[in-house]
Amino acid sequence: MEACPHILDVLCPLHAILDPEGRIAHAGPTLSKLRPGRDLADADAFEVFEVTRPRHVRGMAALLAHAGQCLHLRLRDAPRTKLKGVVVPAPGGDGAILNLSFGISIVEAVRDYALTNADFAATDLAVEMLYLVEAKSAAMEASRQLNLRLQGAKIAAEEQAFTDTLTGLKNRRALGHILERLVVRGARFALMQIDLDWFKAVNDTMGHAAGDQVLQHVARELVEATRGSDTAARIGGDEFVLVLRDPGGQAEVARVATRIIRRIETPVEVAGRETRISASAGSALSWRYTRPEAERMLADADRALYASKAAGRGRHRFAGQDD
């Protein structure tokens, strides 16, 4: 028993030898390091440690009743590090040996007490565990960064897949998705088909580059004439569709159409030349249908649009409007 502390200091440096009264007869080197300002020798073990599991263990008899079992302890003063422990009766029957480990609180413990490799037994897996925690955290962080970049790329790709690259408006695919959602939700909306008039002449006389500029100009006008909750899409060469959410009544939709046609008709300078075009429009209103369907509303709006064109261009009509 005399040589025992030295052996234990090497094999399990985080231990305490308790005398029969429960006082600390010897503290292992790592245990001493946990309370640097305090001489643990002769201190009452139950004043230093609180046994949290099993409950109500105080005094040597109660402690030794749990010999060989896993104990949960905590230091009584700050930092109140949690410890795992096991107690065995000392050889010869006087006192006990209490061996301790940090368990899952190891990461905080090495930080709180500035522990080094030398504070752990050579066979202790603590350092390997700390290595793993650090290596895995670094690997996880690298993976997290990759995920963030991939998600950013995915959003950008989706954005691109749903965007008309020339004008930045939504494309036909995006429009299809938006209409489906509105229909499923039973939302109240107006669908307006807009076709440019005299656009072919611009393209033929001034070239495609000028034509593209006109289309971009129209796109800007559409965005400016509508609200953020509305959708402007380009679904063909000079064909546009507006989706107006909760637009009020038919009169408000008609006012929006008129405003847009007037803005498009305002002459613009393209490639140094004044350019004039116009637009015809036709609208379908979701609340006019008992069960609105995207396809049918698009077809009805398209028919109204052609009626506008036939009636002399630069006009707007509603689906089912007779005059």
């Binding site: 990461v107 090495v110 930080r111 709180d112 500035a114 522990l115 080094t116 490799n117 030398a118 350092v127 700390l130 290595y131 793993l132 650090e134 290596a135 895995k136 670094a138 690997a139 690298a142 993976s143 960064q145 990759l146 970049r149």
Partner: protein
């Protein structure tokens, strides 16, 4: 080749010579992208192309470049995580040398698909070691030489190292430990942020 290895080459070029030089390397190598992803796997010939391009762009001999990458990995602030993980190998430089046998396993524990060449340390006289490196890909030997030199400084040990090339992917590093506590060395605490 694992993205971490490609990323190490990128980090070395960009952090040492600037981002513009790295971009020049990617163009020379005809990479088609500017950044390697640390957690993705790339074809091995891509790594060789990047190394060839870096040799041309930086005007360095290949082994010298690889050694500099090793030094970068073990000592540059941007690669501090690597240095810390290496320091977990042991309290002294000799402990660290003996931990190198386990390095490929340690690497695999952290990142399961990271394959490093097999390492074996033998001590044939007190303070005289040979580290044999044998792997599928060439270049780890000179890189490890750089890592060893930087880690010796980190531990404050005085060592002489020499590389013997023994065929593609096979190298022997001769290490002579003159003094293990020659200089102060850098601090390392388990709890991090030292």
């Amino acid at each position: 080749m694992h993205g971490l290895i490609n990323r190490a080459i990128q980090g070395f070029v960009a952090d040492t010579y600037g981002r513009a030089r790295w971009i020049a390397v990617t163009h020379l190598a005809d990479l088609g992208f500017a950044d390697f992803e640390a957690m993705m796997i790339y074809p091995p010939e891509l790594t060789q192309r990047v190394l060839d391009a870096a040799v041309r762009e930086l005007g360095k001999a290949r082994d010298e470049l690889l050694e500099d990458i090793g030094i970068y990995l073990a000592s540059h602030p941007q690669a501090e995580a690597v240095r810390r993980l290496l320091r977990f190998g042991g309290v002294t430089f000799v402990d660290f040398l003996h931990s190198l046998d386990d390095l490929p396993e340690r690497a695999r524990l952290a990142v399961s698909d990271l394959a490093l060449p097999a390492l074996e340390l033998s001590e044939h006289a007190p303070g005289r070691y040979t580290l044999t490196v044998s792997g599928e890909h060439d270049g780890f030997g000179p890189m490890l030489l750089g890592v060893l030199r930087a880690m010796a400084d980190d531990y404050g040990a005085l060592v002489y190292t020499e590389l013997r090339r023994a065929g593609p992917g096979s190298d022997a590093l001769e290490i002579t430990l003159v003094e293990s506590a020659y200089a102060e060395g850098r601090r390392f605490v388990l709890g991090g942020s030292d």
